[in-house]
C-alpha cells in the first residue's frame, strides 16, 4: 500500500514537474536562463493560487518581443500576477478567465478595485469581460474611472448588450478624436444608447422615488 502510494505520488510529482516545464517551454525561445527561472517562479506562485498562467507567459513573451530587460519583464509579470489576484477577488464568486484578464487590464489603466466589485454586483449572472474592456478603453481615453464606471453600470442595468457598449466606446473615440472633451462625449453618447433601451424596471423607480 505504502509503495503504491509512493508510486502514485511520484507520478503526480513528475506530471506536475513536466507541466511546469511545458509552461516554461512556451516562453519565447530566446528568453535568457535567468529570466526563464524568474518567470517560472511567478508561474509556480500563480498556479498555487489558481491564477491563469497563460496570461503571465503572454506578458513575459510580450516583454521579450519588445526587448525589455529581464528585470523589467519579471516585474511586469509579477505585477500582472497581483492584478489578476485582485481582479479575481473583486469579481468573486466565480469569475471566468476572460473576466479576470479584463479586470486586470482595467486595474492597469487605473480603475479602482472596488469598481469591479460594484460591476459584479450590478451584473452577477453575465460575463463582465466585455463591459470591463469597454471601461478600460474609456478610462484609457482619459475619462475619470468613477464616471466611466457609473455610465457603463447604468447601461448594463438598463440591459445594454455588448454591441451597444461597443458602439458607445467607438462613438466616444470618434468624438474625442474630433476634439470633444471625453466627458462631454461620454454623456452625449450614453444618452443616445439609453434612448434605445427599454425603460428602467419599476424597482429603480422605488429606489429613486420622484418627489411630487
Amino acid at each position: 500500500m505504502t509503495l503504491r502510494r509512493l508510486f502514485l505520488i511520484s507520478l503526480a510529482s513528475l506530471a506536475a514537474a513536466s507541466g511546469s516545464r511545458a509552461q516554461v517551454a512556451r516562453l519565447d525561445a530566446s528568453a535568457e536562463l535567468g529570466l526563464r527561472r524568474a518567470v517560472e517562479r511567478e508561474l509556480v506562485a500563480a498556479r498555487a493560487i489558481g491564477l491563469p498562467e497563460g496570461l503571465l507567459i503572454a506578458k513575459a513573451n510580450e516583454g521579450i518581443a519588445k526587448r525589455a530587460t529581464p528585470r523589467r519583464i519579471t516585474d511586469a509579470v509579477a505585477a500582472l500576477g497581483k492584478r489578476l489576484q485582485v481582479a479575481r477577488e473583486q469579481l468573486a464568486p466565480n469569475p471566468s478567465e476572460d473576466e479576470i484578464a479584463a479586470g486586470a487590464d482595467a486595474l492597469y489603466v487605473g480603475v479602482p478595485a472596488p469598481i469591479l466589485k460594484k460591476m459584479r454586483a450590478a451584473w452577477p449572472n453575465r460575463s463582465l469581460a466585455f463591459p470591463l474592456g469597454v471601461l478600460t478603453e474609456l478610462v484609457a481615453k482619459g475619462l475619470p474611472a468613477q464616471r466611466a464606471a457609473q455610465t457603463v453600470t447604468d447601461l448594463m442595468a438598463r440591459g445594454a448588450n455588448n454591441v451597444q457598449l461597443f458602439a458607445l466606446a467607438q462613438s466616444v473615440q470618434g468624438d474625442v478624436a474630433a476634439g470633444w472633451a471625453p466627458e462631454a462625449a461620454l454623456d452625449l453618447r450614453a444618452r443616445g444608447v439609453m434612448s434605445l433601451l427599454p425603460p428602467a424596471p419599476a424597482a429603480s423607480a422605488f429606489t429613486n422615488p420622484r418627489r411630487p
Binding site: 528568453a31 529570466l35 525589455a68 530587460t69 478603453e137
Partner: protein, 381 residues
C-alpha cells in the same frame, strides 16, 4: 601614419556594432584599446555624435567624432550621407555620401582623408541587392594617394536574424597603409588590388544584439600578394530603449579607401539617444494608420490594419494577435494592409515604418505598457 587612422577604425567598429535606427540623435562615449601590427597597444577615449533624419523619400545622416589619446591617434572626422527613394520606381534607392578625416590634431602626425561613394539598391521587402562605387584620397606627408573601390552585395532579414554578404574590389596607390600590415612579405610598390568577401550576421535576442563580421581578403600588388582574413564581434546590451552598452573587438583589415589601418582592438562604449524623432508619427499624422473592425459570423472579428506609407517602406504590425512578433504588411493597391482574425476581448495593435518606434494606429485608444511602448486598444465584442 598608422596611429592616426586608428581612430577611424574605432568608430567604424562601434558604429557597426550599433543597431541603426532612423530619426535620432545619438551620442556615444567610450574607451578602446588598439593594437596595430608591430606596435604596442594604446588606449583611446572616444566621443561621437550621429544625427539621422528620415522623411518620406530621403534619409539624411550626419556624424562627427573625436578621438583623444594624447598622441598621433588624435583624430576628428565627419560623414554626410543621403539616401533617396524614387517615387516612380519605389523598389530602387540611391545612396551617396562624403566623408572626411583629419589626423594628428596635436601636430605629431598630420594628414587627412576624403572619400565619396554612391550605391544603387534594389529593395524587395526585407531583402535587397546593391552595387556601388567609391573614390578617396589620403594626404600624407604632402602626397596625395588615390584609391577607388567597387562593391556589390545582398542582404536579408529572417525573423530575428539578418545577414549581409558583400564583395569589394579596391584599387589603391596607398602602399604605406598596406605596408603597415604585417602580412605582406615585401613592401608593395605602385598600384595594388585587394578583393574582399565580407559576411555579416546579426542576431537579436531579448535585450541584446549580437553581430559577427568575417572578412576574407585576396589581393596582389606589383611585387607582393596579400592574402588575409579577419573577424570582428560586437554586442549591444539595451538597459532601456534609449540607453545601451556596446562592446566590440577583433580585427579589421586595412581599408585604403578610408585610410583605416590593419589593427586589433577592444572597445566599450555607452550609447544614449537624447532625441528620437519618429517618422511613423509624421506619416501616421499625415496619411493615417487606422484599424478597421468587422464582426465575423463565427465569433470574434477581422481587424484590417491599414497604413498609408511609401510603397518602398518597410511596414510592420504587431500586437496581441501575433504574440507581439512583428508581421510584415502587404502592399494592397495604394496602402500597406494586414488583415487578422481575432477572438472576442481586448486586442492591442501597433504599427511601425522602416524599423522605427512602434505606434498606436491613430483611430484607436492609445495605451502604454510596462515596457515603455505604446499600442492601440480595441475591444472586440
Amino acid at each position: 601614419m598608422r596611429g592616426p587612422a586608428a581612430a577611424c577604425l574605432l568608430f567604424a567598429a562601434i558604429h557597426t556594432a550599433a543597431a541603426q535606427a532612423p530619426d535620432e540623435i545619438r551620442v556615444e562615449s567610450g574607451i578602446a584599446e588598439v593594437r596595430q601590427a608591430g606596435t604596442r597597444s594604446r588606449l583611446a577615449g572616444l566621443m561621437g555624435l550621429t544625427w539621422r533624419r528620415t522623411r518620406e523619400r530621403i534619409v539624411t545622416t550626419a556624424s562627427g567624432s573625436v578621438t583623444a589619446a594624447r598622441d598621433s591617434i588624435d583624430t576628428a572626422q565627419g560623414l554626410l550621407a543621403l539616401r533617396y527613394q524614387f517615387a516612380k520606381w519605389p523598389h530602387w534607392r540611391v545612396e551617396s555620401g562624403i566623408a572626411g578625416a583629419r589626423f594628428g590634431l596635436n601636430a605629431i602626425a598630420t594628414g587627412g582623408n576624403g572619400a565619396a561613394f554612391t550605391r544603387v539598391q534594389h529593395v524587395h521587402g526585407a531583402r535587397g541587392v546593391w552595387a556601388g562605387a567609391a573614390t578617396g584620397v589620403t594626404e600624407r606627408d604632402g602626397n596625395g594617394l588615390r584609391s577607388s573601390a567597387y562593391d556589390f552585395g545582398v542582404w536579408g532579414e529572417f525573423s530575428r536574424t539578418s545577414g549581409t554578404l558583400a564583395g569589394v574590389v579596391t584599387r589603391s596607390f596607398d602602399t604605406d597603409l598596406l605596408a603597415a600590415s604585417s602580412r605582406p612579405s615585401r613592401r608593395p610598390f605602385g598600384l595594388y588590388v585587394v578583393r574582399d568577401a565580407t559576411l555579416t550576421v546579426q542576431q537579436t535576442l531579448s535585450a541584446v544584439d549580437l553581430a559577427a563580421i568575417a572578412t576574407l581578403r585576396r589581393g596582389e600588388g606589383v611585387t607582393t600578394k596579400v592574402n588575409d582574413r579577419a573577424l570582428m564581434l560586437a554586442a549591444a546590451l539595451y538597459l532601456s530603449p534609449v540607453v545601451a552598452l556596446t562592446v566590440s573587438g577583433g580585427r579589421q583589415l586595412a581599408d585604403p579607401l578610408r585610410a583605416l589601418p590593419d589593427a586589433k582592438f577592444l572597445a566599450a562604449s555607452v550609447r544614449v539617444l537624447f532625441l528620437r524623432r519618429d517618422p511613423t508619427v509624421l506619416q501616421i499624422d499625415k496619411y493615417g494608420a487606422i484599424t478597421l473592425m468587422k464582426a465575423d459570423p463565427d465569433g470574434g472579428a477581422t481587424l484590417t490594419i491599414r497604413v498609408l506609407a511609401n510603397a518602398s517602406a518597410r511596414v510592420e504590425a504587431y500586437g496581441t494577435f501575433s504574440g507581439w512578433q512583428p508581421v510584415r504588411m502587404e502592399w494592397v493597391l495604394d496602402a500597406w494592409e494586414l488583415q487578422v482574425h481575432v477572438p472576442p476581448g481586448p486586442q492591442r495593435v501597433a504599427v511601425r515604418i522602416n524599423g522605427s518606434q512602434w505606434r498606436a494606429p491613430a483611430n484607436l485608444t492609445k495605451v502604454t505598457d510596462e515596457f515603455g511602448g505604446e499600442a492601440g486598444l480595441v475591444v472586440v465584442p
